[in-house]
């Protein structure tokens, strides 16, 4: 712009000769003779070239305006370069102005930038002031972007924290459910009972086995009643879990009694060829408890108004 103001560069359309562009079309799309000059680097070498007739024809179709424009830009650059042989405009800048820019950029790099105090004062009216304004714009924009990113990160971290809390709650609930699903109860002295309700998968069977064995050891129980009254369905896989549970119980020296096998379950087990001969099987929990008393040599359970034995009356 300034170059034009000084009249150093002639716009392509002001001069007929210079206005000629590649492919014979000027910026307005007017046809020109199919001859153009191509400026070499720095405008020092110029050569002429003649465009072939077919190319000239193609250009006449007006389809090459983009190419023409590029050539125009190249010529413009050539003119600029030619004029650059003159000494460039120089301005003097006081060192403190440079130091302020240095400090501003350092503040940005060190993440210490504060728009209230670090922006450059625009108190000159020269070319360097334009640069200072641009730097201020850059600094403000960067600061705004950084703030937005920080806010986004803060929100993401808050979301992540909330999610982690939810996951922790779910995990606590899951643990509580696991604990409730393997209720090993001390039915009587030396006698534990494990009522099984619902489906028995591998994970639950492992938890049951682990919990039951631990309780047998800690309470020194000698008998275990596994009550399957609440089990409505059994397959080979479920039966396998039971067999392993029974085997593990016996390994720690406890008598294992299975109670509450429904007729339908018994029939299925029979069909599947599942053999529970390793454990004593009885119809009801009451019978299981009596079997345990017999094993312990205690005869019948004492009658209690309240307490564990009361439920059996």
């Amino acid at each position: 712009m300034e170059r034009r103001d000084r009249g150093e560069a002639v716009p392509l359309l002001r001069d007929g000769r210079r206005g000629r562009t590649a492919r014979g079309v000027d910026l307005r799309g007017h046809r020109r003779p199919a001859t153009f000059e191509k400026a070499g680097r720095g405008g020092r070498s110029r050569r002429s070239a003649r465009v072939t007739t077919s190319e000239a024809r193609a250009s006449r179709a007006g389809a090459c305006r983009l190419i023409s424009f590029r050539a125009a830009v190249a010529r413009e650059a050539s003119i600029t370069s030619s004029s650059s042989r003159r000494p460039p405009e120089a301005i003097s800048v006081a060192v403190p102005r440079i130091d302020r820019i240095h400090d501003l950029l350092a503040a940005i790099s060190l993440d210490e930038f504060d728009p209230a105090s670090d922006l450059l004062p625009i108190d000159h009216d020269d070319r360097f002031a334009a640069l200072e304004e641009t730097i201020n714009l850059f600094a403000r924009q960067l600061d705004a972007t950084v703030r937005e990113h920080r806010e986004t990160i803060r929100q993401l971290e808050a979301s992540r924290g909330a999610l982690a809390e939810q996951l922790a709650t779910v995990e606590r609930q899951r643990a509580a459910i696991r604990e409730l699903s393997t209720p090993v109860v001390e039915l009587w002295d030396d006698i534990l009972a494990l009522p099984v309700i619902g489906l028995l998968d591998a994970a639950r069977a492992d938890e049951m086995t682990s919990e039951l064995l631990e309780r047998i050891v800690t309470s020194r129980a000698r008998c275990v009643i596994i009550d399957v009254t609440g089990v409505e369905l059994i397959d080979t896989s479920t039966a396998g879990h039971f067999l392993r549970l029974i085997a593990a119980t016996r390994l720690v020296g406890a008598l294992c009694v299975i109670t509450g096998i429904r007729p339908k379950i018994a029939q299925t087990m029979s069909q599947l060829g599942i053999d529970l001969s390793g454990a004593r099987t009885l119809a009801t929990l009451k019978e299981g408890l009596q079997a345990c008393f017999a094993h312990l040599g205690r005869g019948a359970a004492p009658v209690r108004a309240n307490g564990p034995g009361g439920a059996l009356r």
Binding site: D99, H102, A106, S109, L110, E112
Partner: protein, 190 residues
């Protein structure tokens, strides 16, 4: 641009100190790489001693890239990572013992510049002179060492900040090493 050069030849800096400097510029990977390349090592060895001239060149680089603000930041970060010797329990003691600690971490021709047993101190790297009064919430520090002015300002701020929540360090108007004067005078308040 100020050039930071040793007062005498043959001065080396402890690897412990250089490690702290390397950690302080860790967030600026370019500077850290510059430090390592200047030292000619892949990593700083706390057991080794490094030429003071190389360390000062690093400060020079920090100043050329990040200006006085960068040096002050570096100075402030160093105390946060420094392990203080026994006997330092407040802002006064940390500033009072700074000169001894400074000499303890430098060697001249392979000889330690401070002997804690005798209190003997070799000359050649300048000093951190402390002027303070116990109980006062201010102290004057006079520096005539080859390290950058703004670095030392940050250093005082960082050391006092280990014991006090608010610290202000101001440079007295009389003379500044950055302008070729032999010493800088600071007032630290907290």
């Amino acid at each position: 641009m100020t050039r930071y050069v040793p007062f005498v030849e043959g001065v080396t800096v402890s690897g412990t100190t250089v490690t702290i400097i390397a950690e302080a510029v860790q967030t600026f990977s370019v500077l850290r790489q510059w430090l390592l390349e200047t030292l000619g090592v892949a990593a700083v060895d706390p057991e080794r001693w490094y030429p003071q001239a190389d360390i000062l060149r690093t400060y020079d680089k920090v100043e050329s890239l990040l200006g006085g603000r960068g040096l002050a930041r570096l100075g402030k970060l160093v105390p946060a990572k420094a392990i203080l010797p026994p006997g330092i329990h407040d802002a006064h003691s940390v500033l009072a013992l700074l000169d001894a600690t400074y000499h303890l971490n430098h060697r001249l021709d392979g000889v330690g510049m401070f002997d804690p047993a005798t209190g003997a101190m070799l000359e050649g790297i300048g000093h951190y002179h402390y002027q303070g009064q116990a109980g006062a919430r201010t102290a004057v520090m006079i520096c005539d060492n080859p390290y950058p002015c703004r670095f030392d300002m940050g250093l005082f701020e960082g050391f006092v900040a280990r014991f006090e929540s608010t610290v202000t360090v101001t440079h007295a108007p009389e003379g500044c090493r950055a302008h070729g004067d032999p010493r800088c005078t600071y007032q630290a308040s907290w």
